[in-house]
């Protein structure tokens, strides 16, 4: 079985499901299996070797049943949605507020959903509502992000010259 936690090179050979124009209410969800390998990779990439993410005993002492994934595992999925699907390539992530509601463990398959809450045509800033759930449908993250969308993804504003 192919591990679904890593971003495979062949993923990038497929055109993203990128709609030609964005509308409020539009949403995208992606799922990913959180594996020890992914957690190790995040620790390596960020230098965050907090043992609560990596060591069983430290996780137990901190009150968790097993090592807890970094929050970045979920934010990475948000980044993937923003940069690859909604709004898609050319987007620039400006701002976000997130709450981590429940721990995510290695072995959890998490699903992150981003939904367009509003679109500001003048600024090209798209506001996304974010939600993350684990395989038991328990909410693990919620938040809001502001993203500057590529020009071509927005309809002309009424009154503007197209």
């Amino acid at each position: 079985m192919r591990a679904s936690n890593s971003i495979q090179a062949d993923t990038f050979l497929v055109s993203p499901a990128r709609p030609p124009q964005l509308v409020e209410g539009q949403q995208v969800s992606i799922s990913q299996l959180i594996t020890p390998r992914l957690i190790d990779a995040i620790a390596d990439a960020t230098g965050d070797f907090n043992p609560v993410h990596l060591e069983q005993q430290d996780a137990l002492e901190a009150g968790y049943s097993r090592p807890v994934a970094h929050g970045l595992a979920l934010l990475g999925l948000v980044s993937r949605i923003i940069g690859w699907e909604l709004p898609g390539p050319g987007s620039v992530w400006l701002d976000h507020h997130t709450e981590f509601l429940n721990p995510v463990y290695a072995g959890d398959e998490v699903t992150v959903t981003a939904r367009i809450a509003s679109i500001s045509h003048a600024t090209r800033i798209v506001t996304l509502d974010l939600e993350g759930r684990n395989g038991q449908e328990v909410a693990v993250m919620r938040g809001r992000a502001k993203v500057r969308a590529p020009f071509a993804s927005l309809r002309p504003f009424p009154g503007d010259v197209a």
Partner: protein, 82 residues
Amino acid sequence: MSARDLPASVREVMSLVLGVPEQSLIDGASPATLPEWDSFRHLLMVLAIEETFGIRFGVEEMEAMASVRNIVETVRLRMAPA
């Protein structure tokens, strides 16, 4: 909100986004006079004004928002009854 309150409310939003005191947002204040007013904060400020007042601007309107006076006037026109 009364028409008299509008300029103060707009200045309050601008002050929060730009991180400058409201007193510095005189009518003629602009990106040329306030170093904090860069292109990035301009975007966030316009968005904050849209969200605060429940209005949406066009690109041309945003490009005309070159001073506090212009911004207050643009918001006033958008808020005016049709």
